[in-house]
């Protein structure tokens, strides 16, 4: 993938936050990634699109250090993920990365505010302070009223906003979102995208956004298409 491009790239060149090169990953006989590249800068929202089964989620998991590629490198700031210990990698995921998946994956036993406060609690923040910050994020995502409810008692759209709040509460540098609007109707989906991208831009977080919906991808700055495990950056097409 080319790192130089349009005029405003020049300004930001050299500050790549996360860079993956020549990633390969095979599950049994299924090649999930076959020489995929990716890069993202602070504050940038990059949509990852492509047919079902083309390797989008696998790419996201490799970038986030959840799955270890068979070959290729993933560099986050100045560090190579494969050279970190498991403990270092999970500290990185807890401290610098945020995650949103298609189905919120909230902890059913905790209330919504406790769910949002959870990543802070895991990072050692005191309960009261964690819940104060969690409430701020719930507010920002327009779901203050569900604070005391459990995930089973809220709608899909509300649950997904809670999940976005949870992903952003630690002030991550990279947010990984895999079909974050997949289970929502278009109005709710777009509102979630608006809130997610606005919050990410304010905090200069980068967002890796896997989606098959063009209207969701339209919230991104740039699009990468994955086909048969290979990536293509559409910014530099034509």
């Amino acid at each position: 993938m080319t790192e130089a491009g349009s005029a405003d790239d020049g300004r930001r060149a050299g500050e790549l936050l996360l860079v993956a090169t020549a990633l390969r990953k095979t599950y049994g006989h299924t090649p999930a990634l076959d020489n995929a590249d990716f890069s993202i800068r602070p504050g940038e929202v990059v949509a990852v699109m492509g047919p079902s089964g083309s390797g989008k989620s696998t790419l996201l998991h490799c970038l986030a250090g959840i799955v270890r590629p068979d070959a290729g490198q993933v560099r986050y700031r100045h560090r190579e993920l494969s050279e970190m210990s498991d403990a270092e990698r999970s500290a990185l995921r807890r401290g610098e990365f945020g995650f949103v998946f298609q189905f919120g994956q909230l902890v059913p036993e905790l209330t919504c505010v406790e769910n949002v406060a959870l990543p802070l609690r895991l990072n050692g923040v005191k309960r009261k302070e964690a819940e104060r910050r969690a409430t701020e994020w719930l507010d920002r995502l327009e779901v203050t009223d569900v604070s005391a409810k459990r995930p089973g008692e809220v709608s899909g759209g509300q649950g997904q906003r809670v999940a976005v709040a949870r992903a952003l509460v630690t002030g991550p540098r990279v947010v990984f979102a895999d079909e974050p609007t997949g289970a929502l109707d278009s109005l709710n989906g777009e509102r979630v995208m608006e809130l997610l991208t606005a919050a990410a831009r304010d905090t200069q977080a980068a967002v890796v956004l896997v989606t098959h919906e063009a209207r969701v991808a339209a919230y991104s700055d740039r699009e990468v298409v994955v086909r048969d495990g290979r990536s293509r950056d559409l910014e530099h097409v034509a």
Binding site: A214, V237, A238
Partner: protein, 174 residues
């Protein structure tokens, strides 16, 4: 849709007579609106005047239908440029895009590249509309949404076509 460019694309695989061009055009791209002969010959006359085609041979007899037309180097460059240039996204693009895809396959160019270029162009416009929408009032939002849903439909067609290129290539070149 540009009949001139379509003729040039068809001529790229070999010289043809005017009636043969018309027949092929109608069969492949005419859907239910066959070309009028007047349109065929006025298009060819314009291509000839612009140096994009030349008359390769005239058979005995008279009348325009005796001429065999061949594409020139300038004509090839012109098709090349047309195929590489994305269309301005707007409703009912399908017939132009379909024509471009088929011609790319017929002339051995990359149809996948053409589809990606168009996809990038559509997404650029969708981003712009999305930005306008978030800054706008309800009326702006509704107008932008209408355009966005149409562009989305086009994009889905582009994706589906990209996924079926191998199959389409077999059919158009058989």
């Amino acid at each position: 849709m540009s009949i001139g460019h379509t003729f040039l694309g068809l001529l790229e695989s070999g010289p043809r007579h005017g009636y043969d061009l018309k027949r092929t055009f109608d069969a492949r791209f005419g859907h239910d609106r066959p070309l009028a002969y007047g349109q065929v010959y006025s298009t060819l006359a314009r291509l000839l005047k612009n140096g994009l085609v030349e008359v390769e041979g005239i058979e005995p007899g008279g009348g325009p239908e005796r001429k065999r037309y061949a594409i020139t180097d300038a004509g090839i460059t012109d098709v090349e440029r047309w195929l590489a240039q994305p269309e301005k996204p707007e409703p009912y693009l399908h017939s132009t895009l379909y024509t471009k895809v088929v011609l790319a396959l017929l002339t051995g160019r990359s149809a996948a590249e053409l589809l990606d270029t168009q996809r990038a162009e559509h997404l650029r416009l969708m981003r712009e509309l999305t930005r306008r929408k978030s800054g706008g009032d309800l009326a702006d939002q509704l107008v932008c949404d209408h355009a966005l849903f149409h562009l989305e439909a086009d994009l889905r067609w582009l994706e589906l076509t990209a996924a079926r290129l191998d199959q389409l290539a077999k059919e158009v070149t058989k």
